[in-house]
């Protein structure tokens, strides 16, 4: 979404309020932090990104349209800042084929039913396991998982925010989720959950 259009009268009124930034933008700091963490793998880089985002947002607050989604506006600034910092550091984006639908995840779950690890959600310490899996999930998958699965954006909204086609959002999201499940199932096996051959009624979606 483009916010840097004409500075309307309403816009002037809102931004002339010296406390509007504090009231609208600063409460989004935790959400921006989470998004920055999904983009930049290193914690220090994410902190820098948050600082850069709020600095840019403050400097361009006059372009923010009153009534617009401030969190989304900040996410766009954050994403653009991330892209520029990545260009500077010459890092290469991880390219991996995404999933076109839910079938690969369903097949993965069918395997887990067969080896008895499907009960992992109730039998392992899920929070630390999932945290660890998220740490291993690389960009560009992690930002889509964050936007859709934590912040509640639709595929279309995430697509606009990241400036990628909806199909790309879909494939990254599905692959990202499946990657997380692969890590969780592997963790479940590592801690001894499930055993080969323990059939509990595997399904036929393979």
């Amino acid at each position: 979404m483009e916010h840097s259009v004409d500075v309307t009268e309403a816009n002037k009124v809102a931004t002339s309020d010296p406390h509007s930034f504090e009231r609208e933008a600063l409460p989004c700091l935790d959400a921006v932090f989470r998004f920055a963490r999904s983009l930049a793998h290193e914690r220090a880089d994410a902190d820098d990104l948050v600082q850069e985002t709020f600095l840019r947002a403050y400097r361009s607050w006059s372009t923010f349209l009153p009534g617009a989604d401030c969190r989304r506006w900040l996410f766009t600034i954050c994403h653009n800042a991330f892209l520029r910092s990545r260009e500077r550091s010459q890092r290469r984006e991880l390219h991996e084929q995404g999933d076109i639908d839910a079938l690969p995840a369903v097949i993965l779950h069918a395997h887990a039913i067969r080896d008895g690890t499907d009960a992992l959600l109730t039998q392992i310490e899920l929070v630390p396991a999932l945290r660890g899996a998220l740490e291993m999930l690389a960009e560009p998958f992690r930002s889509v998982v964050l936007l859709v699965d934590a912040e509640g954006y639709t595929y279309q909204e995430a697509s606009e925010l990241l400036s990628v086609p909806v199909g790309t959002v879909r494939s990254r999201l599905y692959r990202g989720r499946r990657f997380l499940q692969e890590i969780l199932f592997a963790h479940a096996r590592d801690v001894g959950l499930g055993c080969a051959g323990s059939h509990q009624g595997s399904t036929d979606h393979e």
Partner: protein
């Protein structure tokens, strides 16, 4: 295809599982997946697992908050730009 009574087999229903859970399907297809899940125990088991997985994923990610040191750092940066907080600081 009958616009009203779209019938999905297991394969077709499971292909749409993520979109079903994400609320990304048209009403007609959503109802078709829903109808399939209500009659197929195998597919319902996959649905139930993925639903719980997504709930856990949302909960874990939502727990992440910026540390107070980062809040202070951002405010310090903004103060250098002339920002004066009014409503208090974290």
């Amino acid at each position: 295809m009958n616009e009203v009574n779209e019938v999905l087999d297991c394969h077709a229903a499971m292909r749409r599982l993520w979109e079903y859970l994400d609320g990304e399907l048209s009403e007609q297809t959503l109802e078709a997946v829903h109808a399939h899940l209500s009659t197929c125990a195998d597919c319902y088991r996959h649905y139930d697992f993925e639903r719980e997985f997504l709930a856990a994923l949302e909960a874990v990610q939502a727990q992440d908050c910026a540390p107070s040191t980062l809040h202070s750092r951002v405010l310090d940066t903004l103060r250098m730009e002339g920002f004066v907080p009014r409503y208090g600081e974290r």
